[in-house]
């Protein structure tokens, strides 16, 4: 793409991306009060080709955000309510026996809810690991294999899963392998007082938001390509690597807190998330390069679900977020005697 696009084309695409992104947020904001960070996180995951895990108590608008996003972007949206008795075939589809007009019987693949652009996996931790793992191939490879036949999912494909952190009885926490496949993990917080008031106004009155379609799948695919072009300096990339290394106990850059409370640190996917998230942030900040601030702004959603606390950390009630804050504070932006002058 780099060689095909002229400077004007690229510039136009950047402007288009920035403009449409702003409009997408505006449209969703008409439906969703507040939660801007969550919307940003979902959009960044979408434009980076990743998936997002939303964690929060019920009733905070997770499902509404995802529905609004599908409506604004003109994307196919499906919702799967995960329950303990949900089977893999229920989400990926199955072959059913049909009989044609001549009375001849044949199997036909009936697509499941995964065959959509945006899949809302509601309360994903309530399904059994068998069903959860059915998502693995779809999330990573963006294809589904049933009865030896592979079915490709149409891009863009994004899984937006939600889970409830409080009702843990009868739940199946997501295995580490599956958690690592989520690009971001977003924590949905309670709205503020003003936002609550606005939510009441919009939901208890005769208010109906007609969301306009701002983008489509083509725009999203072009934006994905554009984001990958954003220049990343060597020392910024080195910073991403060191941040990821710092989450692993026993490494050169790990902080004291990480050494004490972390059992497993981030995989290389964490560094990928940092870089890609930073690139989107840079473009959104009308910049053509990734800065340290861009990286730092996506550290929490990129790495929080890739870190597993040890028993001591769990026992002492240490949160992953506090460890990441400590890592950010103790990881210099430039090392090897090249620390910039303050």
């Amino acid at each position: 793409m780099a060689n095909k696009l002229s400077e004007k084309d690229v510039s136009a695409r950047v402007e288009e991306f920035q403009e449409k992104y702003r409009r997408i947020k505006e449209e969703i904001s008409r439906m969703i009060v507040g939660q801007e960070d969550i919307i940003d996180g979902i959009l960044i995951s979408l434009f980076c080709g990743g998936h997002a895990l939303l964690e929060g108590i019920p009733g905070l608008g997770k499902t509404s955000i995802i529905k609004s996003l599908g409506e604004v972007l003109s994307l196919d949206t499906s919702r799967v309510q995960f329950t303990p008795d949900l089977m893999p075939a229920d989400i990926i589809g199955t072959n059913i026996l049909l009989q044609d007009e001549q009375g001849k019987r044949l199997f036909q693949f009936q697509k499941g809810p995964l065959f959509a652009n945006i899949v809302l996996a509601d309360e994903i931790n309530r399904a059994t690991p068998k069903t959860q793992s059915a998502l693995l191939e779809a999330m990573q490879e963006q294809r589904i294999t049933v009865s030896g036949k592979t079915h490709r999912l149409h891009p863009p494909f994004i899984v937006l899963a939600t889970q409830n952190p409080i009702e843990m009885e009868g739940t199946y926490p997501l295995p580490e392998a599956q958690m690592d496949r989520f690009f971001f993990k977003l924590l949905v917080e309670y709205p503020s007082v003003e936002q609550m008031s606005e939510i009441l106004d919009k939901t208890t009155c005769d208010y109906r938001a007609d969301l306009k379609k701002v983008g489509d799948s083509v725009f999203i695919e072009e934006a994905k390509e554009l984001i990958r072009l954003v220049p990343l300096a060597g020392h910024v990339k080195d910073y991403c690597v060191r941040l990821t290394q710092a989450t692993r106990p026993g490494t050169e850059y790990s902080s004291a807190m990480a050494e004490k409370y972390i059992r497993y640190g981030s995989s290389p996917r964490g560094a990928q998330s940092l870089v890609m998230g930073g690139k989107v942030k840079a473009l959104l900040a009308e910049r053509f390069n990734v800065s340290f601030e861009d990286i730092q702004s996506v550290v929490q959603p990129s790495l929080r679900h890739r870190i597993i606390l040890n028993f001591e950390g769990e026992a002492e009630g240490i949160t992953v977020e506090s460890i990441l804050d400590d890592i950010l504070a103790h990881t210099p932006e430039v090392v090897d005697g090249k620390k910039p002058a303050s």
Partner: protein, 443 residues
């Protein structure tokens, strides 16, 4: 795109050039700081040990060259060290809040064709940099060590005042070495004599101080001149005394007998008498050959009556008479003058240096009121040493051999004379009684 790249390249060149200048300035200041620190340490060390950097008389003259060398070395080091271009841009990004625009653009400058966003990035970086004021873009760095300069200079001046005076110049070092060697010569000649020891010690110390540059030049020259004069005077006196002692063995002048105390004067007087007795013996021989024995007999009677002065006078007259008859010479009244004449005659014959009679021209300062040699304990400063030394100088021509030694020598000679029976038999008892009486010999 090309314009932006050129503009960016100019910007980077200006940034690195300014950084080089800043580094040069800071390094020069640092070099000066370390030069001053070094000189301060040297100045402090000079209080204890002289350290000479340049052949100048005043230490402070060395400050300029030391400072210049330090600054030049620092400047050379600053210019020799390469400047990391990318690092400078990273620092500029941080300083100017450009969010890694410059450093990333610099990295993507050469691969602009591979990345469609690179031209936009470079253009953006140049535009941002142009919007920044030049004073902010090229931030001046304040050389922090400059504030320590007054402190160091004050320290150098303070310690220079505490340690005044020149360094050990070649002239003073040479003078010191000569004085030190002279003091060793004096010590070798003086033997155990106390005042020479003091002078020797003083000269040795002074020589060391001169070589270490601990004495001011003017003071050193004056002190050295005084010391050299005293030394020369002392050496001449020693040589003269030594020569006089050789020639006047057992005899000294009558004038000196009046000056010196009872012991030495009487001994000398008795020596004269002994010589008179010898002459008397000769006169007996003359009598044997037809002389006049009445005078001898009269002298014998007088000697028996212990009227030694009368004996001497009688013998002197007798010798004068004999001189008139047989050409024998009597001992003169003034032996010192004659002795000097004889000494000079002997010296002239031997080709050695003549000794002048300086008794009448001697300086009042040199006239000693102290007799004999006194030992001075403890260290004295130069002025005190000089006074002691001047007081101790003996009159010209006087022997400085202690009277005890002289008494021992004299006793030995008397005993030898009696033992060898050189004295006529009839006089032997008188002589023995005489020496017994005055305590020279024991019974």
């Amino acid at each position: 795109m090309l314009d932006n790249s050129i503009a960016f390249e100019k910007l980077v060149t200006a940034l690195t050039g300014r950084k080089r200048l800043q580094r040069l300035k800071c390094y020069c200041v640092d070099g000066g700081f370390y030069g001053l620190l070094f000189f301060l340490l040297i100045t402090i060390t000079r209080i204890f040990e002289p350290i000479k950097i340049l052949p100048v008389n005043n230490y402070l003259w060395e400050l300029g060259p030391v400072l210049a060398v330090a600054v030049l070395l620092a400047a050379a080091w600053a210019l020799a060290r390469p400047i990391d271009r990318q690092q400078q841009l990273i620092n500029a990004d941080r300083r100017l809040g450009l969010k890694e625009r410059l450093s990333t653009a610099n990295e993507y400058l050469k691969k602009a064709d591979d990345n469609a966003l690179s031209p936009l990035l470079i253009e953006d970086a140049v535009a941002r940099a142009r919007n920044i004021e030049r004073s902010s873009l090229y931030k001046a760095e304040y050389p922090g060590r400059l504030k320590y300069y007054p402190l160091l200079l004050a320290g150098i001046l303070l310690f220079s005042i505490l340690k005044p005076g020149p360094g050990a110049t070649d002239e003073l070092m040479d003078l010191g070495q000569r004085i030190e060697s002279s003091s060793r010569l004096l010590a070798a000649r003086a033997g155990e004599k106390s005042h020479e020891d003091i002078l020797f010690e003083e000269m040795r110390r002074f020589g060391e101080e001169l070589q270490k540059g601990r004495v001011a030049e003017q003071e050193a020259l004056e002190r050295a001149a005084e010391m050299a004069e005293l030394l020369q005077q002392r050496i001449e006196n020693l040589e003269r005394s030594s020569l006089s002692a050789e020639q006047n063995k057992g005899v000294d002048t009558l004038e000196q007998q009046e000056d010196v105390g009872v012991g030495t004067a009487e001994l000398k007087k008795e020596l004269m008498d002994l010589q008179a007795l010898e002459l008397q013996e000769r006169s007996e021989s003359a009598v044997d050959m037809g002389g006049e024995p009445e005078e001898i007999r009269e002298a014998e009677v007088l000697a028996d009556l212990e009227d030694l002065s009368a004996v001497r006078e009688l013998l002197k007259n007798f010798m004068s008479a004999q001189k008139g008859k047989k050409g024998l010479s009597a001992p003169p009244d003034s032996m010192a003058g004659d002795s000097l004449k004889e000494q000079n005659a002997t010296a002239g014959a031997a080709g050695t240096e003549k000794v002048e009679d300086q008794r009448d021209t001697a300086k009042p300062l040199l006239k000693s009121s102290d007799k004999g040699v006194s030992r001075v304990e403890g260290a004295a400063d130069w002025e005190e040493t000089k006074k002691i030394f001047l007081r101790s100088l003996p009159p010209v021509g006087e022997s400085i051999v202690p009277e005890e030694r002289r008494l021992i020598d004299f006793r030995r000679e008397v005993e030898e004379v009696i033992r060898k029976e050189e004295v006529p038999l009839n006089y032997r008892e008188y002589i023995k009684n005489y020496f017994l009486k005055i305590g020279i010999i024991e019974n």
